[in-house]
């Protein structure tokens, strides 16, 4: 099943995401903190 998502897909590198999109993702990743308390999970975005 997993292969269905990548098979028959032409790997021609036509487009790529904007640099700002990638930077946003990386910054989001750095800012996101998951805090677990008992059975609860909290998401925090830290600057």
């Amino acid at each position: 099943m997993a292969e269905l998502y990548i098979e028959n897909f032409d790997d021609t590198e036509l487009f790529e995401p904007k640099e700002e999109t990638v930077n946003f993702i990386l910054n989001y990743s750095k800012a996101l903190k998951i805090i677990k308390r008992n059975s609860l999970e909290f998401e925090m975005l830290q600057n």
Partner: protein, 194 residues
């Protein structure tokens, strides 16, 4: 010196362990495949950009929550997330209010194109040609008045001066011209409509 390729599984593991740089490597490694996969579905660069971003936000949240359990299958997993987001996008789009003609309200009644389309132009030309042929069949005095009035847009005063007849005579000829045209149209069942 031999280049060592770090596997996706190891990068994911490092990222979960707090090494942010690993995410950058994973994105760099797979961004073209994921981005073009999304684009091949939506054919819109802005939408692709949004879905690409949302895909990785989901990836990050899942990894940081420790919910990722598909070791060694990072790319198919991300592709699956992207695919689900593409489906969501199309579902959302389908739900967006759209005008259709299934109700009494017809959007084209308010935004209709006022210009003539090719078909209408063709029909109008045919009607003009048919009418011209009918006018040609009229007696000369009636034909003259009708042409001056309808095609040259002259007043009956100007017509009377030009043709050397009284205004009443010009009006009478015009009246008979129209009556005769109607008779011919009725007799031969000619349909002049647009």
């Amino acid at each position: 010196m031999k280049n060592v390729v770090i596997t996706d599984a190891l990068l994911v593991s490092d990222y979960i362990g707090g090494k942010e740089k690993s995410l950058s490597t994973l994105i760099e490694r797979h961004k073209h495949k994921i981005y073009n996969f999304i684009y091949s579905k939506v054919y819109d660069r802005d939408v692709t950009e949004d879905i690409f971003q949302d895909t990785f936000i989901k990836v990050i949240r899942t990894l940081k929550r420790g919910k990722y359990n598909e070791e060694g299958k990072f790319l198919p997993w991300v592709m699956r997330i992207a695919n689900n987001l593409v489906i969501d996008y199309f579902r959302k789009n389908k739900r967006m209010p759209k005008f259709d003609n299934s109700t009494d309200f017809d959007i084209f009644s308010v935004i209709s194109d006022t210009g003539l389309n090719a078909e209408k132009t063709m029909i109008t030309d045919q009607i003009k040609e048919a009418l011209k042929q009918l006018v040609e069949k009229l007696p000369n005095d009636q034909k003259e008045v009708l042409i001056l009035r309808m095609y040259n847009d002259m007043s009956f005063k100007d017509i009377s001066e030009k043709t050397g007849v009284s205004i009443n005579t010009a009006l009478g000829r015009m009246r008979y011209a129209i009556i005769n045209l109607r008779k011919v149209i009725d007799k031969y069942n000619i349909v002049l409509t647009n």
